[in-house]
Subunit: 340 residues, 2 copies
């Protein structure tokens, strides 16, 4: 009976509206009855999120945004997962340099390889995210995109974080997973816009965040189409194609997504222009910055950090109307593995 | 009552599976009872499409493909809409050169502007799609992405095709609209992968094809983030960013979509590598080439055409197992405005 009713509704074209109504009320990531965003403490930050979603989803409201336009963009490092003691993609490439060093005796005397082999974090940190991508290019050129994917997946399946002794994919923020699910339940389409390598993030985004590869924007290297022994492949070249950080983020959003999102979530000054671009659009807009101020459960850093420096954003968030999240105050739980 | 049942099903997580079953049976683009693809004549081409969709959607089948991986890519010019007497984006930019010529007296003596002003199609055709994109860059640099969008939309709303005396957006192929709807009803995600400019195609893709901007891949120019009078904008630079044709198509697919599609649809040798890349993947794959052989209802052209040259694809389609569509034989109707 239900099946017949449902098929009938589909045929009449009624289902999308119903799905929308139903999903706006229920948050599938939480048990019924506990409400949305259970790992967020009640307070201004949580309230601002829920109020924004209510405004844009209210069918009769003056600020209603059609589902197709409900695009939300998320930075990755420091926003969806941790980024200390350094960007995880950095720790990946340092491990790779160490693994490949026996075949490259010349690296002992050449920067930035020398710094990696001597564990000279100061020199490496000075190169920032861009330096890392250049290091990835140097160490992973000439191979196909499939070979690179395999190497990243192997590393993610085995390497462990120095502080938490857990897989890096365990270090995703539980409150942000709930936020992604909450937005999707309200017909938002969620994208990652990362300064990190697009092919690195895509290896785990679907499994870990529920974000498919086609909804990941990031820095990229040049690839080249070749037919090798009758088989078409894409070969990675040691050449930067696009650097998706700072001013690059709005450019990347325009290139890959092609319309202005209505909500943006970040944590560092690398996300500033993304939030600026998103919140400058007409109609309801939402910007949020996570402040890492919890040295006990995660890390505390901001203005002076090598990875995830937050300086301008900390000063300007209040006057720009962006929500500033204190991890310490606003998050009941940081990681899923924590006991409540 | 139905509402309660439905909300209950949503809460239990049953809905996605039901939606899938229901949509696999119904084609929302056609009245109930007429079956899918009504503008396709019965024959090998139509049969190959329906059989492929049945294979990958059969839940218990050995060739079942999960919905997330049902990615289908479509060329635009000559595949979703017409491309004669020349690529429509070419006709757009020729009109723009004529409109801007009074402010540029020097164009009378400079190629390729001279060729446009003298209507010298031979010279223009020799530059191909790439030449056109360069012409767009030259004529539309320095403006913001929003200004460019406005110009394209104005042109599409008023300019008329020389043969059919209709808006260009009326010259989309009805059988392909039905194919897009049929694939989407079977949980495929449909993308455009065009040699044309990404920002040109995005102005109409959602309205005309139901394909949102974030599912359009195409050639692009460099844009730059700037804050103009306190307002963040993206400014178009006269510099090619990415040329999405021939070998560029698999590169663009990897960059923008990040996983290999299972079906590809094209019409010219500019689509050859895209079909080669897509159909070389493991598991069930589908490639289709449209042959423009209908001079009465549309245009007849292939090996010697300036726009949409089809030579290698015509020779190799049979041995590669790609479906070759004859517009004349396989399509009951070419355009929606034709009487049946």
């Amino acid at each position: 009976m239900e099946r017949i009713v449902f098929t009938f509704l589909v045929a009449l074209g009624f289902v999308p509206a119903l799905v929308q109504q139903a999903s706006a009320q229920a948050d599938p990531s939480t048990p019924l009855g506990t409400g949305p965003l259970p790992s967020w403490n009640d307070g201004a930050a949580k309230k601002s999120i829920i109020e924004f979603v209510a405004r844009v989803t209210k069918k009769e409201g003056s600020e209603f945004v059609p589902p197709m336009e409900r695009i939300a963009v998320f930075d990755n490092d420091g926003t969806l997962w941790a980024e200390q003691p350094f960007y995880f993609q950095g720790l990946f490439v340092f491990d790779r340099v160490r693994a490949l060093a026996p075949q490259h005796p010349e690296w002992k005397g050449t920067q930035p390889f020398k710094a990696v082999l001597e564990n000279d974090m100061k020199t490496l940190a000075a190169g920032g995210l861009r330096g890392l991508i250049e290091l990835v290019m140097a160490t992973h050129a000439g191979m196909t995109t499939e070979e690179f994917e395999r190497i990243v997946k192997d590393w993610l399946a085995t390497a462990r974080h120095p502080k938490f002794n857990r897989l890096y994919t365990d270090l995703v923020f539980q409150p942000m997973l709930e936020l992604l699910a909450y937005l999707r339940a309200n017909d938002f389409k969620t994208f990652i816009v990362s300064g990190g390598g697009i092919e690195f993030v895509r290896t785990f985004s679907e499994k870990v965040y529920g974000i498919p590869p086609e909804q990941v924007v990031g820095s990229s290297i040049v690839t080249k189409f070749e037919v090798r022994e009758g088989r078409p492949v894409l070969v990675r070249e040691p050449k930067l194609d696009f650097f998706d950080d700072h001013e690059g983020k709005p450019v990347g959003i325009n290139k890959f997504i092609g319309r202005r999102p209505i909500a943006a979530f970040g944590n560092s000054d690398g996300d500033f222009q993304m939030l600026e671009w998103v919140t400058a659009g007409t109609g309801p807009r939402f910007g949020l910055i996570i402040h890492h101020d919890d040295a006990v459960r995660e890390f505390a850093y901001d203005r002076a950090s090598a990875a995830g420096k937050l300086d301008r954003g900390l000063d300007e968030a209040p006057k720009r109307g962006w929500t500033l999240v204190s991890m310490k105050r606003d998050w009941k739980r940081v990681f899923a593995f924590e006991k409540n």
